[in-house]
Symmetry: C2
Subunit: 357 residues, 2 copies
């Protein structure tokens, strides 16, 4: 009976341990995800945001959630990110919301708007204002969750071969400037073209185009535009472009709660980090650029040009929001938030900088 | 023998499961930590940073790391945080590095320096410049790890009962302004006093003091200073005050790798979030304040006063760094970084804001 007694105890112990082990095995389930980005494999800092996010998720989850990051050379669909995440070919994406303005105009404002918010103002709108709710509302019809994915900070207005002293100087110029800003420039009489990144330098050098807009010193330096177009205009059209992480909603809902929080936190911190990384890259690149090419001239568009741009922007917004209640709701929310936040920005950072340049 | 065979199988199964279970139990070990803050239990947004951090850690670790946050009313040692974390009475702390300038002058520069960096500049220095390494170097003798813990953004120069038009107007004024900024003000002829927060309003109302410095609209509004001292001066002395999370190094090293990364990530995101939260609080509070008290006047110190402050600051830094090679190394690193970063700030956010106020 002793033997039998032992066996019974073992059976009970086995059952208990088996129970424990089943729970532990469920908890140890490994999720393997794929993320598609719009960016090439070396496009810092854009590509760094999803890579850092994936590394943090892996380390924090102790290997239970592994996210493979595919650059655009892998999936060959740089601007198909929303569709691929929506369709479930990819679990996640990393791109910029305004690339889909043609598909769904309501997604336009989550990147940046001309004459809009600065980075801290916009993050405040996203996280402590109505931004996140409005973004989920706009993305819900695509069955995709959307999160801020890294900010470029203020983008420069672009490289020009000649100085701009009036609206007339702009008329007839050929410029590469995509998106909503391109539409504004077209209203001012420019011929707006789109050219593949690899051909931009040659086009500018040969005068096929007269100007182009890229990002800022940190990313522009590799492109070499400063060697052929010395007028570097300050920004107006993308004061704080936020990229986006997209997550297939069904896939997200299947994750256990701890992995959901790990993912959300890794996303949030990688987005902030990209903003700061690009700040450092721009500071460093500008210092190098101007040392090697002292001929570069920082210019701000003259008041008459600014006024014309602001008017064109206003007119375009009226056109676009016609019969688009959600777009109007989002833009109104941004405008109201910006008005309040800008007062604070003025009395804090702006007036401080004014005396400390 | 059948019976025996079964028992043997059970024994093996039990051992296997026991092995699995031991690993799983080790992995499921719960760490219970305590964090001491300098702040009272309702001092938003300062107290929110450690609370958010603890919540994220709990959720991401699935309850394996629980951090209890003690406000200052609990441990009664608001300015003893470094000592308590160093001594191991607390595993973590949340405070501001410059509170310990009397104990270790090398810890002063990690909060903010007069005429120093703005928030994005400073985060860039911490995370993509030499900041983090220098901070660990300075804290290593205390056997404590230090991390950025949330930024206030630009702090206002303070509330004054009368307008300041010259350095002479400052002489003899009684002002509550602590720390390094207080030493600068003393050099300009002010009588610098420290008064408990609870008595500040009455002191200012009755004229026991003529001016005081607190934080910015988001935190000042509850104090009510705007009702009794209508001149609100813009900031110069704390352009981006970063709080700090402190972690006892020994305790940190005992955590498994995944919990270490969970802790570091929760710290990093809570710090960024506090900066953005305070931005929103200040924007909102200022809008309310100025509506209810339209008499408030935003003032910038006149150029003569600024020049005198800058000179006093420079002189003080020369005095303080005498024979202090590490302090000098930190301040030199900050100054060099600021010089580069400020050029970028000027051509990006500053020039953008100039045309969009």
């Amino acid at each position: 009976m002793k033997m039998f007694g032992k066996t019974t105890k073992l059976l009970v112990a086995t059952a208990m341990l088996a129970g424990l082990s089943t729970a532990s095995l469920a908890k140890d389930k490994v999720y393997k995800w794929k993320l598609a980005t719009t960016w090439g494999p070396t496009l810092s800092p854009f590509i760094d945001a999803p890579k850092n996010m994936a590394r943090l998720v892996k380390e924090m989850s102790n290997g239970r959630l592994i996210i493979r990051v595919d650059a655009s050379n892998k999936h060959k669909a740089a601007f198909g990110i929303l569709d691929m995440v929506k369709g479930g070919q990819y679990d996640m994406g990393h791109s910029a919301s305004y690339y889909w303005k043609g598909k769904d105009i309501n997604l336009l404002p989550f990147t940046s708007m001309p004459f809009g918010m600065t980075a801290p103002e916009q993050y405040a709108w996203f996280y402590y204002g109505e931004g996140m709710d409005l973004m989920q509302k706009a993305y819900s019809k695509h069955k995709v969750l959307s999160f801020p994915g890294g900010n470029t900070g203020n983008q420069m207005g672009g490289w020009f071969r000649k100085e701009i002293t009036s609206v007339d100087d702009l008329k007839g110029l050929k410029m590469r400037i995509p998106g909503f800003a391109g539409e504004i420039m077209a209203k001012l009489g420019l011929t707006v073209t789109n050219i593949a990144p690899g051909e931009l330098y040659t086009s500018l050098e040969r005068g096929t185009i007269d100007a182009l807009e890229w990002v800022g010193p940190g990313m522009d330096i590799k492109m070499g535009f400063h060697k052929v177009a010395p007028y570097y205009y300050t920004g107006w059209h993308e004061p704080a472009s936020e990229l986006q992480f997209l997550v297939n909603k069904k896939k997200f809902n299947k994750l256990p709660a701890d992995l959901q929080q790990i993912l959300k936190t890794a996303i949030r911190v990688s987005a902030y980090d990209m903003y700061i990384q690009n700040y450092q890259m721009s500071a460093k690149a500008w210092s190098k650029m101007v040392k090697e090419y002292p001929n570069i001239k920082i210019k701000t568009f003259p008041k008459s040009v600014m006024t014309a741009m602001k008017k064109a922007n206003k007119d375009l917004l009226v056109e676009k929001t016609q019969g688009k209640p959600l777009l109007k709701e989002i833009l109104d929310s941004q405008a109201a938030f910006q008005k309040k936040a800008r007062e604070w920005t003025k009395m804090s950072d702006y007036l401080y900088l004014k005396d400390n340049l």
